[in-house]
Symmetry: C2
């Protein structure tokens, strides 16, 4: 479009639309368009751009020194309709930071800011976003832009992205990828997300064992670039079976006439493609690996896993562990519509309500006792609460022990003895303290005795439940970290109220 | 000692001591000693060794297929006094697995098993242990053995070990390290554990920018071995200032006549030595780094951080987050003496007791109300519990948002609106459900109205507290993950009981 035509268009538009169109004018043509506009509009529109140019160093400084104000800066720019300024702030940020910033914006502002991310960086930004937001923003792009934005992504990142998209756009994206990459992509998509196959990359450089190092070096010079995160080349036989790894470090220090067979490291074991992701992460951590080969059942090399993906995996696991304890989904958008968030969280509240009513039902059994001795109502939450805390300590310890392999069949008995021992000691201590305070408060020795006994019983029950619940859930194939704490609270509430009010009914009424 | 003398000694000892001495006989001399013993003892002692030799393939198989039974196998062998068998099981395990197994044993058995770990592997095993156990087992070794066992450790691992030891043995260990390593060690020990300086390794290979790649390659061939986890060489000037990184991959693909200055990657930014460990981890994760240079204030290269240490860091952080929510120390020994564990856990129970008594005190304010309407006592835990769950959802979301940079000054207002919105929607929903159930249960419309209002109020308070508490704690420099949930529970308990019983007093009595 000719600059004069653009200028005409700009003058004809309403202020809101005018700003939107102006954002689309590229920096090179701005001056020529401005030449055709009236002074008022020039001041207004050029102001936006000039300001953006002017504030660049500031934006850069902000990245290093005060990331905390970036959200504010972007939101203010968005509110003022200065999209170009937003684009320039984003342009100077690392894709990971852009992702964090987008996640900190509410959906409408996020959409506006997202439209200012350059297409060739958009793909990388998507890989850093949590699933829900990633999906929404990917679908926000035109099909062609989406395809263009993912061209330079590593295949494992692309796989993640496609897996987070709905079926239809996901398939379209696969179809838009060309040639050899497409075949690799489809093979990678056929493995479960949380298996070695799901996190591997199909890009290893392979060499044969019987060639000389010299030949390999010549081959590498022809390649010019090695894939990112390459620390070893994979050595395979004629049929593609993995035989060992040739370290870059070895290639630099060894004699060029040596054969690969003499130089390769055969201790780097291949990971079967069906290995669970958690097991892969543990292996990387234990063996300090940078990358590892992935093979199929026959030992044929399929790809490699790199440590950067393992780091992401560990971080996500950690995130999930904390979030699911509160019944939250770690991939969900913090700024999802209120109605959506409410519905999600309602589930957890509903589950908790069942356990709360169970506890209330137990209390209801002793209504007449409470009527006779209302002090019991005052003290009963203490019994339940102490049990809950003590139980959660045992539960947390056992869940972690199971994950680290510290808790095994061979030592659960021992652990039981210990936990019971700890709960008796703490039970005696806190039973005495609470009993003393209760007697001082209500001047009733009977209440003191009953609450002491109830606390001791509940702490014992808490230890037993804290140990038994995760072991049982694990055997049933349920993640103990997910359901463990709700079940535990139910047990300690029910036992606590029942023991306290039951003993009081028998002994005091 | 002559085999005949050993045999004489063995015969003279009691069975328990005899087994202990037999464990010290090396495999080569066993046959000659046995030749001097009577048939009874031969059967008994040789049985142990033969069994150990015989069960090797089994032990190996166990490592791969059924790690869950190893603890049991080792404990049975220990119980039977078959230390050699233990030694052989351990010999075939990776140091990380040995560490996990040691942690799964109670202290006396752990000590026995530890004595069977070869000295040259002991150092590596120590690096995989949690602090408390690491310290105990390191002090278990003779000074000379400890020194010998750490000779081949990387310096950063050695620094961790020394930092976990008490002052005196730690100093002795530093003094036992010789020459250049000692100087590096002392400089590394001078940085805080949780800073870039504390996790760096002082072993980077440095080159000058003005030499040719050819020269560098010749230098590397002289070195023969590069330090583990080397993906780049560091380029420094004459005064040691960091200038850029020379990737191994580049060295393999570039023309040998090129100068380092043309080949080096200047985008790999150096990390200041005082950077917090968490910030280092985030940078590695965002930039997919394998290693990064560490510099002092003047930009002089001090060392490098490798991704394996960052992986450990992230894993430990994740562990700590989960453990501290239950008031547990993630470095503590699961099998510490019962008295020690009880004392540690008592602190958390004591803190909780204060909040429980606060809640009880609030209930106590309404004793006469409860007397008049005992149904209130039955229902009141429901109000407190719903508030606690809803609050923990907001709290968890905000704590994570702060860690990821999703929650910033620029959007807390927005977040507040959202959380209040969610709590009103969920409040209305669950208030209606609970009120309905309460009316059905007690046939009293007043109670239904009061509990509905109380739940709505408590869910609102929970949202406000869940947002405000972590923001305030963060500003006060306290880790919100540590104290957040106790304070939140206190708020939701107090508000819940006060709102429910207070409204009932005003409206129903």
């Amino acid at each position: 479009m000719h600059p004069a035509k653009i200028a005409g268009l700009l003058e004809a538009l309403e202020p809101g639309q005018r700003t939107a169109v102006w954002q689309q004018v590229d920096a090179g043509s701005e001056a020529r368009v401005l030449a055709h506009l009236n002074a008022e509009l020039v001041r207004q529109l050029a102001g936006d751009s000039a300001e953006a140019a002017h504030e660049l160093p500031e934006a850069e400084a902000a990245e290093h020194h005060d990331a905390a104000t970036q959200v504010q800066a972007v939101r203010e720019a968005l509110a003022a309709g200065k999209l170009k300024r937003v684009g320039k702030i984003l342009h100077h940020m690392h894709p990971a930071k852009v992702a964090a910033l987008l996640e900190a914006l509410p959906p409408p502002e996020r959409k506006a800011a997202w439209s200012m991310v350059e297409t060739d960086r958009a793909g990388k930004v998507l890989t850093y976003l949590h699933d829900e937001i990633c999906t929404a923003l990917a679908l926000e792009l035109e099909h062609d832009d989406l395809v263009a934005s993912v061209q330079r992504l590593e295949l494992d990142d692309l796989v993640d992205l496609i897996q987070s998209l709905p079926d239809e756009p996901g398939r379209e994206l696969v179809h838009a990828i060309g040639g050899a990459r497409r075949a690799q992509l489809e093979s990678m998509l056929s493995y479960p997300e949380d298996s070695a196959g799901g996190i591997m990359n199909a890009d290893p450089i392979v060499v044969r064992a019987d060639v000389k190092l010299n030949t390999v070096l010549r081959y590498l010079r022809l390649l010019e670039n090695l894939p990112a995160q390459t620390d070893v080349l994979m050595v395979v036989d004629r049929k593609g079976h993995y035989q060992g790894a040739l370290r870059l470090a070895t290639m630099l220090t060894a004699a060029p006439e040596a054969r690969v067979a003499e130089l390769m490291d055969t201790t780097l074991a291949a990971i079967p493609v069906n290995t669970a992701a958690g097991e892969v992460a543990r292996r990387f951590q234990d063996l300090d690996l940078l990358s590892a080969p992935v093979v199929d059942d026959e030992g044929v090399l399929l790809g490699r896993i790199t440590v950067d993906d393992v780091v992401d995996l560990i971080r996500e696991d950690s995130d999930r562990a904390v979030m699911q304890m509160a019944g939250l989904d770690e991939e969900a958008d913090m700024f999802a519509p209120v109605l959506v968030s409410s519905r999600r969280r309602a589930v957890w509240l509903g589950i908790n309500l069942v356990t709360a009513f169970l506890a209330a039902w137990v209390i209801g059994l002793f209504e007449s006792t409470l009527q006779d001795l209302v002090a019991l109502a005052v003290l009963m939450p203490i019994v339940a609460s102490m049990g809950g805390i003590a139980g959660s300590q045992t539960l947390t310890l056992v869940i972690r022990g199971l994950a680290l392999g510290q808790v095994q069949k061979g030592n659960t008995r021992l652990l039981l003895n210990r936990e019971v021992g700890v709960s008796i000691l703490n039970g005696l201590l806190w039973a005495a303290v609470v009993a003393l305070l209760a007697v001082l408060w209500f001047g009733n020795w009977g209440i003191g005795g009953v609450i002491a006994a109830a606390i001791l019983i509940n702490l014992l029950a808490a230890a037993l439940a804290g140990l038994a619940i995760p072991l049982l859930l694990e055997r049933m194939g349920i993640d103990p970290a997910l359901a463990g704490s709700v079940i535990l609270t139910t047990v300690t509430d029910v036992v606590g109220f029942f023991a306290f009010l039951g003993l009081a009914t028998v002994l005091l009424i």
